[in-house]
C-alpha cells in the first residue's frame, strides 16, 4: 500500500465529484418529476394505462443500467435516421445520453416506490377529503400525495443512494466523473488498489450524507411526534439501527 499515492488520489479525485453530483441530482429531479404522474396512472389509472406504465417500469427495472446505457449510446447512434433527426443534438453528447438513461431508470424505480405509497394511503382519508368537498386534483395534491410521499421516503432514500452509485457507469461512455477520474488515474499510475480505495471512500461519504439527509427529512415529516418533540429530534444524533429497506424494483 502506497500512502503517498493515496494522498495524490485524495487531491485529484474530488474534481470528479462535481460531475457525479450533477448527474445524480439532475437524474433524480427529472426522474421524480416524470414519476409523479406515472405513479398516479399506475396506482389509480384505467387497467390499460396502468399496465402500460407497468410495462415501462418492468423492462427498465429488469435490465442492467449498463446495457441500457450502451444501447442508447452506441446502439441508437448506429441508425442513420436517428443521426439525421433533431434528437441527435442531444444523443451526440455523452453527458445527455447518461442523463437520459439515468433519468429513465430513476423514473421507473420512483414510479413503483410512489405507487406503493399511493396504494397504502388509507381510503378513509380520501373519503373524508371527498366529504369535505375537495376536487379530485385537490385531493391528489393536498391529501394523497403528501401522505404517499411520507410513506415512500425510506424507499426513496435508497433510490438516491442507488443513483449516486449508479452514476459511476457514466465513466464507461468517456465521462470523467468520480469513477472516470479514478480510472484515468489508474491508467497513469498503474496502482488500481490505492486509487479505487480512495474513490470508494469518497462515494461512501456521499452516500452517507444522502442517507443522513433522508433520515432527517423523515423525522421532519413524521407526524407521530408533537412539533416540540420534532424540534428536539433534529438535534439528536441519528438512530444507529435505522432501518433501510432495500432497493425495491
Amino acid at each position: 500500500m502506497n500512502f503517498g499515492l493515496m494522498f495524490d488520489a485524495l487531491r485529484v479525485l474530488p474534481s470528479g465529484i462535481g460531475l457525479t453530483l450533477t448527474l445524480t441530482v439532475l437524474s433524480l429531479t427529472a426522474g421524480f418529476l416524470l414519476s409523479v404522474p406515472l405513479a398516479f396512472a399506475r396506482a389509480f389509472g384505467r387497467p390499460s394505462v396502468s399496465y402500460a406504465v407497468l410495462a415501462y417500469t418492468y423492462v427498465i427495472r429488469g435490465t442492467p443500467m449498463l446495457v441500457q446505457l450502451f444501447l442508447l449510446y452506441y446502439g441508437l447512434s448506429q441508425i442513420d435516421a436517428v443521426r439525421a433527426s433533431v434528437f441527435w443534438v442531444i444523443l451526440k453528447d455523452p453527458l445527455w445520453c447518461a442523463l437520459f438513461t439515468f433519468s429513465l431508470n430513476s423514473a421507473a424505480h420512483t414510479t413503483e416506490i410512489l405507487c406503493r405509497g399511493l396504494q397504502s394511503v388509507p381510503t378513509g382519508i380520501i373519503e373524508a377529503a371527498k366529504a369535505l368537498g375537495l376536487k379530485r386534483l385537490q385531493i391528489a395534491r393536498l391529501v394523497t400525495f403528501p401522505i404517499a410521499f411520507r410513506i415512500s421516503l425510506p424507499a426513496y432514500g435508497n433510490e438516491v443512494v442507488g443513483m449516486i452509485k449508479g452514476s459511476s457507469l457514466a465513466s464507461t461512455v468517456t465521462l470523467l466523473e468520480l469513477t472516470g477520474m479514478a480510472r484515468q488515474m489508474v491508467s497513469a499510475t498503474f496502482a488500481p488498489y490505492e486509487v479505487f480505495i480512495v474513490a470508494g471512500a469518497i462515494y461512501l461519504a456521499l452516500t452517507t450524507l444522502a442517507v443522513k439527509a433522508t433520515q432527517f427529512l423523515e423525522r421532519r415529516l413524521s407526524n407521530e411526534n408533537t412539533p416540540k418533540q420534532r424540534r428536539k429530534a433534529r438535534l439528536r444524533p441519528t438512530l444507529p439501527d435505522h432501518e433501510i429497506t432495500t432497493l425495491v424494483p
Binding site: Y74, S77, Q78, R83, K92, P94, T172, T174, R183, Q184, V186, S187, A188, F190, A191, P192
Partner: protein, 282 residues
C-alpha cells in the same frame, strides 16, 4: 505468403496440451486486448487472432513452452500483469520509459507508427499524409508540421484509447486546443467516429487502415503526418514482470532467432501487408 509451419504446429500442440496441463514445464498465459486488429482482434467464435497472437505462439513454440492467450481490457492490462493475472503482455504495446518503470520489455517485435484520422465531412486539409515525423527529433520542419496540426484541429473533439501513448501524445501536443475523449477500446472509438460523436482520433496506423477500408470507415480519412518516436519509444515489445528475467531472456533469444530467419517479417507481411519487423542488429 509464407505461413510458417511452426505456427500451425504450435496451435495444434496448444490445443492438444490444454486438457493435460499438469506437465512439469511452466505454462504461461499472454494477455492481449483483442480489440485492435490487425494487431489483435476477437473473431465471432470469441477466439483471439492477429499479429500479436501469431508472434506470441511462434515465440512460445521456439522456447518450447505452453502458452494460452487471454483477453484483458487495455486500461487494466499493466496492473493485472503486476498482480500476476498472466505472465506476458503482447498487445501492440509500445516500449516507453514510463511503462519501463513498472514492467520489463522484450526487444521490439514491431516498429509501428501512428496517425490521426478525421471525419471527411469536416473538409480539413490533411496535408502530406506520407510525411514522417519522429517526435524524438523535433527540428524546425517538424515544429511547423505540429503547429499546422494544432491550428487545423483546434476546437475539435479527438478520441483516443484510454491509457495509451496516443492519449499522452494528444495531451502533450494538442491538450490545450482540442477536447480529448478517452475510450475503453478502439472498437468503441471507431463506433463513435462513424456516428460522428468525435471529429477524429489518434491511434496506430494499421488499426486505422483496416478500419478505413471497412464499411463504417468510409466516413474518415488519414490526416497529417505519420508519427513515431517521442512517447511511443523505440517500438512494440512484449511486457513482463521485472522479476521474471528468465522468461525475458528466453523471449529475447527466440525473438532474435525469429527475426533473423525472416519469420517475424513473414508475419508482418501477413497481417500488415508491409514489413514492420524490427531492424536486424548489425
Amino acid at each position: 505468403m509464407r505461413m510458417p509451419l511452426a505456427i500451425a504446429i504450435s496451435v495444434a500442440s496448444l490445443l492438444a496440451a490444454l486438457p493435460a496441463r499438469a506437465g512439469t514445464e511452466r505454462t504461461i498465459s499472454i494477455a492481449t486486448e483483442g480489440a485492435s486488429p490487425p494487431w489483435d482482434g476477437t473473431d465471432s467464435d470469441g477466439k483471439l487472432y492477429g499479429y500479436d497472437v501469431d508472434v506470441g505462439l511462434e515465440l512460445c513454440y521456439r522456447i518450447k513452452i505452453k502458452c494460452t492467450f487471454v483477453a484483458q481490457d487495455w486500461d487494466g492490462i499493466i496492473p493485472a500483469l503486476l498482480v500476476g493475472k498472466y505472465d506476458v503482455i503482447m498487445s501492440g504495446m509500445a516500449i516507453t520509459e514510463k511503462r519501463k518503470q513498472q514492467i520489463a520489455f522484450s526487444s521490439p517485435y514491431a516498429s509501428g507508427y501512428n496517425q490521426f484520422v478525421v471525419r471527411k465531412e469536416l473538409g480539413l486539409d490533411a496535408g502530406d499524409t506520407k510525411e514522417k515525423v519522429n517526435l524524438s527529433r523535433v527540428g524546425d520542419s517538424e515544429k511547423a508540421t505540429i503547429e499546422r496540426l494544432r491550428s487545423t484541429l483546434s476546437g475539435k473533439a479527438i478520441g483516443v484509447l484510454r491509457s495509451s501513448n496516443s492519449e499522452a501524445v494528444v495531451k502533450q501536443l494538442l491538450g490545450d486546443v482540442v477536447t480529448i475523449r478517452s475510450y475503453d477500446s478502439l472498437d468503441n472509438l471507431k463506433l463513435d467516429l462513424t456516428a460522428g460523436r468525435v471529429d477524429g482520433g489518434l491511434a496506430d496506423y494499421f488499426t486505422w487502415r483496416d478500419f478505413l477500408e471497412a464499411p463504417g470507415g468510409s466516413v474518415a480519412v488519414f490526416f497529417g503526418p505519420e508519427l513515431n518516436g517521442g512517447l511511443w519509444g523505440p517500438g512494440v515489445g512484449a511486457g513482463m514482470r521485472k522479476d521474471d528475467s528468465e522468461l525475458l531472456t528466453k523471449f529475447n533469444a527466440a525473438l532474435d532467432a525469429a527475426t533473423k530467419d525472416g519469420t517475424i517479417k513473414a508475419l508482418s507481411l501477413k497481417w500488415f501487408k508491409t514489413d514492420i519487423s524490427p531492424a536486424l542488429p548489425k
